[in-house]
């Protein structure tokens, strides 16, 4: 049993890596090409694993993917004229004046489609890792997978017969 750790320490880097990191930090850069090596980069990124650094790219990109459209919109906001008036800011419903509240009640049909979607989404999601492992599965596992899919097929047929898939 390992020694109990505080929460902050559990995500700390390993001692082994720490010592290597310290060694690299005092790395005398005599050979100017040493800094181009993979090793050098790896020990200077504070123990980011390869996978985390991939998702760090995603994080950076999501930041930029929000900032750039926002800057375009803000630029448009300042470049364009601003002359609001009563009629312009009114909502456009093909020229007819709006009657009543916008947020009217919707039919249960949408909810039904949503429910059926959730079920098939979860099913497909569970099938993905099985598909990745499929080459090494034994016959029993294959039958289990096919049985799982067939259960869902029964559900789909039931909904079909009950007319749940009709759009009224």
């Amino acid at each position: 049993m390992a020694k109990p750790l505080r929460f902050c320490e559990t995500i700390d880097m390993q001692p082994r890596e720490k010592t290597r990191l310290q060694r690299v930090q005092t790395f005398p850069i005599r050979n100017r090409y040493a800094i181009l090596s993979r090793e050098f980069v790896k020990f200077h990124t504070n123990g980011f694993s390869a996978m985390l650094s991939q998702y760090f790219f995603i994080l950076v990109m999501s930041g930029l993917a929000v900032v750039l459209p926002v800057s375009a919109i803000v630029m448009g906001h300042f470049l364009g004229p601003r002359r609001p008036d009563e009629i312009k800011n009114d909502i456009y419903e093909s020229g007819v004046e709006t009657i009543g509240e916008t947020w009217v009640q919707f039919r249960a049909q949408y909810y039904l489609i949503g429910l059926v979607f959730v079920v098939f989404d979860v099913e497909a999601l569970f099938l993905f890792p099985i598909a990745v492992a499929y080459q090494q599965l034994e016959m029993f596992a294959v039958f289990a997978t096919i049985f799982f899919v067939l259960l869902l097929v029964i559900g789909l047929l039931y909904d079909w017969r009950k007319g749940a898939l009709e759009w009224q």
Partner: protein
């Protein structure tokens, strides 16, 4: 790093710094879910919370779990919640107060529950990560193999549950 009241906190590494940001985002979004007066804004904040949880899964190097979280919760459950808001007319106009007359008692219980969780978290001997996990495709394949070998009963029961959900959906949401 020395905080007031003599608390000693280690200087966070960059990874920990990013983790703290993600955790804060999740917590703030979760708070916004409860505090928002407009129900639709609560649903949006809930979506943000789901993203934050996915981020925490990424920090655990459980990328399949993270992407499942986004796919199921953001892609489907958030939609269902939005549909449900639209279906219940009285909830749509929002502007309801997030507090009712039992907020005092419930906050007391929430605080007690949180203290209990905190004590539990501190008392648990967390396994320290031994060798760093080699997170590649083999891990996902391993997960898939476990579904249909070790946990095959649970897996088939899950299939049955999904079947029941399909049947129940028709019962629940049929227009009449």
């Amino acid at each position: 790093m020395q905080l007031p009241l003599g608390v000693e906190v280690p200087i966070p590494t960059f990874e920990q710094f990013v983790f703290i940001q993600v955790a804060l985002l999740t917590a703030v979004a979760a708070l916004a879910v409860v505090m928002s007066r407009n129900l639709f804004h609560s649903a949006l904040a809930l979506t943000l919370t789901f993203f934050g949880v996915a981020g925490i899964y990424v920090f655990l190097e459980a990328e399949f779990l993270a992407v499942s979280q986004v796919l199921v919760y953001v892609g489907a459950i958030a939609m269902l919640i939005a549909f449900a808001i639209m279906l219940t007319r009285s909830m749509m106009y929002g502007r309801t107060s997030p507090l009712n007359n039992q907020w005092g008692k419930s906050s007391l219980f929430a605080l007690l529950f949180f203290m209990g969780l905190l004590a539990f978290a501190r008392a648990t001997p967390w396994p320290s990560a031994g060798e760093p996990v080699v997170a590649d495709e083999a891990l996902i394949a391993e997960l898939g193999r476990e579904f249909v070998t070790t946990y095959v009963v649970a897996f088939e029961v899950l299939g049955l549950l999904l079947l029941l959900a399909l049947v129940g959906a028709v019962m629940l949401a049929r227009d009449r």
